[in-house]
């Protein structure tokens, strides 16, 4: 039983510590995305990405979340996503696309370190993100 409580205490402490670290990245992303949303650049971005996002059955705004996720991480994607309001189906599709390809700079570095070819991994993940995005986008339109 002592082991159990020790694990809960260490876990809770680690959670708070990691949370503080992540907030330093998430809050600036969130603030920037809200600024971007109301800036004159946004309609232009929306229209520019609308054809690509249509592939995934997503509105043009979703590009901001997907691109943020690609370069930062899932937490960045969530921060960017919460700047807009999406339907449950769209959130699920954005989540799946981002989950296939996220934090490319960091995870590629980790991959390289343990010996995976980083270049191929990026191509593979981006390709799968598109494939899965089309599939889940279609599924979301049918089921959710």
């Amino acid at each position: 039983m002592k082991k159990f409580f020790l694990a809960v205490r260490t876990g809770a402490f680690k959670g708070l510590k990691t949370g503080l670290m992540l907030l330093k990245i998430m809050l600036p992303i969130y603030v920037l995305v809200v600024l971007l949303k109301y800036s004159p650049v946004m309609p232009w971005l929306q229209e520019g990405f609308a054809p690509v996002m249509k592939l995934f059955n997503l509105p043009g705004d979703a590009a901001v979340a997907v691109i943020t996720g690609f370069f930062t991480d899932e937490y960045g994607c969530v921060a960017a996503m919460s700047g807009f309001s999406f339907s449950a189906a769209s959130i699920t599709t954005i989540a799946m696309v981002t989950l296939m390809a996220h934090s490319i700079p960091v995870e590629s570095a980790v991959a390289q370190k343990i010996g995976f070819p980083a270049g191929w991994l990026i191509i593979y993940r981006a390709f799968m993100a598109v494939l899965v995005g089309i599939f889940i986008g279609w599924l979301g339109g049918v089921l959710l």
């Binding site: 919460s82 700047g83 995870e107």
Partner: protein
């Protein structure tokens, strides 16, 4: 700017609070679960039960444990386990490559399940469908000549 500044600042202010709360709702339970999994060697026991999954995915039973760690707890934990194993008894080239194929599509399912679940995604799709996608892709990859040729 298409809205007044006071409106934008108000939105940022409330949004930041929700972000902080949602993040803690994810991370505190997640870290507690991970700590419990480590303390009670859950994944080591579970990996022995899941050995049968190695055959369709073309990996040996030694590779199940590091893969499971990566898939359940996250890439950093998975990479750490692989490095630790390599010091004792290195994984075969093919096991290693196929772990990569699976793990880079689907890792940290507890973390991402919580994170996207709390933010409104369908948890079943984010966890189960993703696991299935990664599983089938690995099964297909194991049958490609590129992976077949590797030593195992």
């Amino acid at each position: 700017m298409s809205e007044s500044w006071s409106y934008i600042f108000y939105e940022m202010y409330t949004g930041c609070f929700t972000t902080i709360l949602n993040l803690l709702k994810v991370l505190v339970p997640l870290m507690i679960i991970i700590e419990l999994l480590i303390q009670y060697d859950v994944l080591e026991k579970l990996s022995r039960k899941l050995e049968f999954l190695g055959r369709p995915m073309g990996i040996s039973k030694d590779a199940i444990f590091p893969l499971l760690v990566g898939v359940v707890m996250g890439v950093t934990y998975g990479a750490g386990t692989i490095m630790e194993l390599n010091q004792r008894k290195p994984l075969s080239k093919r096991d290693f490559a196929l772990i990569g194929v699976f793990m880079y599509l689907c890792h940290g399912v507890i973390e991402t399940g919580f994170l996207f679940g709390i933010n409104g995604a369908n948890v079943f799709v984010v966890v189960v469908v993703r696991l299935l996608i990664a599983f089938f892709i690995t099964c297909i990859a194991a049958r490609l000549p590129y992976f077949q040729k590797m030593e195992h």
